[in-house]
């Protein structure tokens, strides 16, 4: 029976929603084994949460060494599990850390790696969106066991109830996986809004906000969306760099992207042009962002955005 291994991501005792997405893709190929590597004593509640994803078995490795040595340690254990279980493929979430773990496992197992996939077929063909979303590429691994990292929210997770078997493995690390020592961790402060790259709706502000993001945030909140920004806005210090959308920022592909006071420079487009629906508000009728927009309003964002927000609020009431 062919199986696909997925590496489970979690934070603060919560399994990331990417676990369900990876399991959903893995299921297309065969049975799904979830690899859960965590601190000693942490696995119980995490395993419980995995029962709402299509997972057939959970392989659990508990060790405090993961928190101390990070990526190299996680990669060594993942590679060892690969060698022992010979899965059809390994799927990992496309975070900075996920990609680095995948990179090291690829070297260790001499396997091909495809990063930032947005889809993975039953015949293990990965789909990627490249050059700022201007090309769609299909590729497959031709050497070793396919290792594929998948962008968060690229696919809808299948909601099921599963009762996976649980296998515990013991952890031992080679000295080269313990060269780096992590001495302190400050997790990113999460606001009440959804994660930029995972959000279904993103409202972004640019130089046109003149530093006032209040209407942008209020509009995003009324829509349950995340807040993005152009580089002009992040460079000016109006909004944190972590919210920058574009070539040197985040790539987002939400159902709805609303650009407010953003001209639509090529570097900004590179981060948002695969969005399903694009709306632009800009006072310059010639702004290039209108070339992308499914709906554009030529006007002052300080008039249009609050009015739109009020209209959304009114709709919710009715």
């Amino acid at each position: 029976m062919s199986s696909v291994l997925i590496l489970v991501d979690y934070a603060d005792g919560k399994v990331a929603k990417t676990a369900g997405e990876l399991a959903t893709l893995a299921k297309r190929v065969g049975s799904v084994s979830a690899l859960l590597l965590c601190k000693a004593g942490e696995s119980g509640p995490l395993i419980e949460q995995l029962k709402s994803a299509p997972i057939d078995s959970v392989i659990v490795g508990e060790s405090d060494l993961f928190a101390t040595h990070g990526i190299a340690a996680l990669a060594e254990v993942t590679a060892n599990v690969m060698s022992e279980k010979s899965p059809q493929a390994l799927l990992i979430s496309s975070s900075a850390r996920g990609k680095e773990i995948a990179a090291r496992v690829a070297v260790r197992t001499n396997s091909g790696l495809i990063t930032d996939a947005i889809d993975f077929s039953n015949s293990m063909i990965a789909t990627q969106s490249v050059f700022g979303g201007s090309f769609t590429v299909h590729s497959r691994v031709s050497h070793g066991t396919p290792i594929v990292t998948v962008r968060p929210s690229a696919v809808e997770a299948e909601a099921v109830t599963s009762s996976p078997s649980v296998e515990n493995i013991s952890i031992s690390l080679s000295p080269t996986s313990q060269l780096t020592t992590i001495t302190s961790v400050q997790p990113a402060v999460k606001g009440g809004r959804p994660e930029l790259t995972e959000a279904k709706i993103v409202v972004s502000g640019g130089r046109g906000t003149n530093g006032d993001f209040a209407p942008i945030e209020a509009f995003a909140d009324s829509l349950g969306g995340a807040v993005g920004a152009s580089r002009a806005a992040t460079d000016a210090g109006w909004y944190p760099h972590t919210h920058q959308v574009g070539q040197t920022g985040k790539t987002v592909s939400p159902q709805l992207y609303i650009a407010c006071g953003i001209s639509g420079a090529i570097q900004h487009r590179a981060g948002m042009q695969t969005s399903k629906t694009i709306v632009a508000i800009n006072k310059d009728p010639e702004a290039p962002i209108f070339d992308l927009a499914d709906f554009g309003v030529v006007g002052d964002l300080f008039a249009v955005v609050p009015q739109a927000q009020a209209a959304v609020a009114a709709k919710k009431q009715s």
Partner: protein
């Protein structure tokens, strides 16, 4: 290095893809260490893999202040993926006697920001990636970074040798001075081929993955544009409602 334990004294740097932030950071670490020394003890070597025209980029790095450069240029390397690229670079680094390797975090082409991790794995060196700040203590041969990613900030450290990748916000790269540009003209760029490195299984023919097809995204259909006549916001929300987005 300073205490002379290593066979070749000096902090050295290497670039996978010519990256000014990485060069700048290496310069900021090396320059204070060399200050007041008759002959610099600590050197920076640029390493790049690419076609011959990559020498231009290397020349710029040399004019910023790096000491010398190695270019791996070989027609057989066309189409190399990250696994092949990291294999070639690791081979060069192994023979260099370096203490630290600095890389950019993500190249502007499709190298997927995985090269630093692959290098560390291949070399068996410590991995210190996504550094938003770097502190080097030559006396104890230790390097500490603040890793900055979406997940937060982690402080991590390791002994030399280590692979360090830096994020864009770490510094403001300098512009080469006129003096630097003149000096760079005399600095050596050594060119190597795959054969020189004793490697054969790299390049497109032995890539670890293959592209089946690539299609240009169709242009977006022309949208609706309205002039705000006091009802722009309302119209916008009507559009969203029609699309079932609110």
């Amino acid at each position: 290095m300073v205490n002379g334990l290593l066979d070749r004294a000096g902090v050295d740097a290497v670039l996978n893809d010519l990256d000014e932030y990485a060069i700048e950071e290496a310069l900021r670490i090396v320059e204070p260490l060399n200050e007041g020394l008759e002959t610099p003890q600590h050197t920076i070597t640029l390493i790049s893999m690419g076609p011959d025209r990559a020498t231009e980029a290397l020349r710029k790095g040399l004019s910023m202040g790096a000491d010398d450069a190695i270019l791996i240029s070989d027609p057989s390397l066309a189409g190399s993926d990250a696994l092949a690229t990291s294999k070639v670079l690791a081979e060069v680094i192994k023979s260099g006697g370096f203490d630290l390797v600095f890389c950019g975090t993500e190249s502007t082409d499709a190298r997927m920001s995985v090269i630093p991790a692959m290098l560390a794995e291949r070399l068996g060196w410590a991995q210190l990636s996504f550094a938003g700040s770097v502190t080097v203590d030559p006396a104890s041969s230790r390097v500490e970074i603040a890793r900055m990613t979406d997940a937060g900030v982690e402080t991590m450290s390791a002994n030399f040798p280590a692979v360090v990748s830096v994020i864009e916000k770490i510094n403001e790269p300098r512009y080469p001075s006129f003096k630097g540009i003149m000096a760079a003209k005399k600095k050596p760029i050594e060119t190597k081929t795959v054969g020189d490195l004793g490697l054969s299984d790299v390049g497109l023919a032995s890539a670890w993955s293959v592209v089946d097809d690539a299609t240009a995204r169709p242009p977006r259909a022309k949208g609706i544009k309205v002039e705000d006549a006091g009802d722009g916001g309302t119209k916008l929300v009507e559009f969203l409602a029609e699309k079932r987005l609110v």
